[in-house]
């Protein structure tokens, strides 16, 4: 077991865990931040997406020992983030969510996309969001919501 001090949503958090523990489980089990979801466990679905050092990251495959001093941002902080707020508002206005399980990952990915590409094309959206799976098939609404958020932000 090792002790790590992580910066999560701007707050220092100390955890004592096995170095190989994926960040996802540190967030959910040790820090009780359950907004980030477990989907596949192999980085194939995107449900566990968080931002690490500003990069959309699959937290289910990144051991806590490899985080270093990079700040972690999770879905719990999105309401306080201007882009996150715009995306969440667009999500509501387009009634994107069906079952909702994948949506925290979808929103984290959409926010990362809009922060790097403020006016994404359909191609940008499909390439970037293509790794986030939604078994309810809300993809069309996700795309429209991203465009709405983009318009609101630019």
């Amino acid at each position: 077991m090792e002790t790590y001090t992580l910066t999560v949503n701007g707050q220092p958090k100390e955890v004592t865990v096995d170095p190989g523990t994926p960040l996802l489980w540190v967030l959910r089990e040790d820090l009780k931040m359950t907004g980030t979801k477990y989907g596949c466990g192999i980085a194939a679905c995107g449900a566990c997406t968080v931002h690490v050092g500003g990069v959309a990251t699959r937290s289910c495959v990144v051991p806590v020992s490899l985080i270093g001093d990079r700040p972690i941002v999770t879905i719990e902080a999105m309401a306080e983030d201007p882009v996150g707020r715009a995306v969440q508002d667009a999500w509501v206005s387009h009634d994107v969510v069906q079952c909702g399980y994948c949506q925290s990952g979808q929103i984290m990915s959409a926010v990362a996309l809009l922060k790097s590409t403020p006016k994404p094309t359909d191609t940008n959206i499909e390439a970037s969001m293509g790794g986030n799976l939604c078994r309810c098939g809300t993809y069309v609404r996700i795309r429209e919501a991203i465009k709405t958020a983009s318009q609101q932000l630019t």
Partner: protein
């Protein structure tokens, strides 16, 4: 049999006579020296080509060639299948904003989750593709020509190529590729890194010769 022995004796006499003439004849000695130098150059080129074949065996191993694709996606696994999760090349070989290589691949291998990692994980540029659009590995001559073409290889000369093989973190990763998600070690290239660098050095010192065939 008697005739054969006589022929051998005659041949020996001629050879001894030729050697004696050669030793006493400055023109003959000079010619011999040129012949030796030519033989040495040929030998060096032959050694270089042999060394290149060793280098080629590493470059076309899955640990290397999976990121030297001709397509807009990387490959993975020893069977070189398309990378899962709709991962694409992106404009600079590092993926697209939400699906960058570093979305999963960190600075070092993550053996607890089976994700390989190394500094600046990325695809090789399309100019360094070592397979065709059907994922067929290019021939030794084709890969050699690409690797030595400074308009394609980031303007690396022989010494630059040697340094690349000695020091580039992702080259080094190929020889310490970590474990798969099931805990088994990933397969290694056919040479150790030390032998790979030695083969590269021999090839570079021979002037980076490439096979002539296609």
């Amino acid at each position: 049999m008697r005739a054969y022995k006589a022929m051998l004796q005659a041949t020996s006499v001629i050879l001894v006579a030729c050697a004696a003439w050669s030793a006493s004849n400055p023109i003959g000695s000079a010619r011999e020296g040129v012949a030796h130098k030519t033989a040495a150059r040929a030998s060096t080129r032959a050694e270089g080509l042999a060394a290149w074949q060793q280098v080629y065996s590493v470059l076309t191993h899955a640990r290397c060639i999976n990121c030297h694709t001709a397509t807009n996606y990387p490959q993975q696994g020893d069977d070189r299948h398309r990378h899962f999760a709709n991962v694409v090349r992106g404009p600079d070989g590092k993926g697209v904003p939400v699906l960058q290589c570093i979305t999963c691949h960190q600075e070092s291998n993550a053996d607890s989750t089976g994700v390989p990692g190394g500094h600046n994980w990325h695809l090789a540029p399309l100019s360094m593709q070592w397979q065709d659009l059907n994922d067929k590995i290019l021939s030794s001559a084709e890969v050699c020509r690409a690797v030595t073409d400074r308009s394609k290889n980031d303007n690396l000369d022989g010494q630059g190529l040697l340094r690349h093989h000695e020091e580039e973190p992702l080259v080094l990763w190929a020889f310490q590729p970590g474990r798969r998600i099931d805990g088994t070690p990933r397969t290694l290239p056919p040479l150790t890194h030390e032998r790979f660098v030695a083969a590269t050095r021999t090839w570079v010192e021979a002037g980076t010769p490439c096979p002539q065939n296609r």
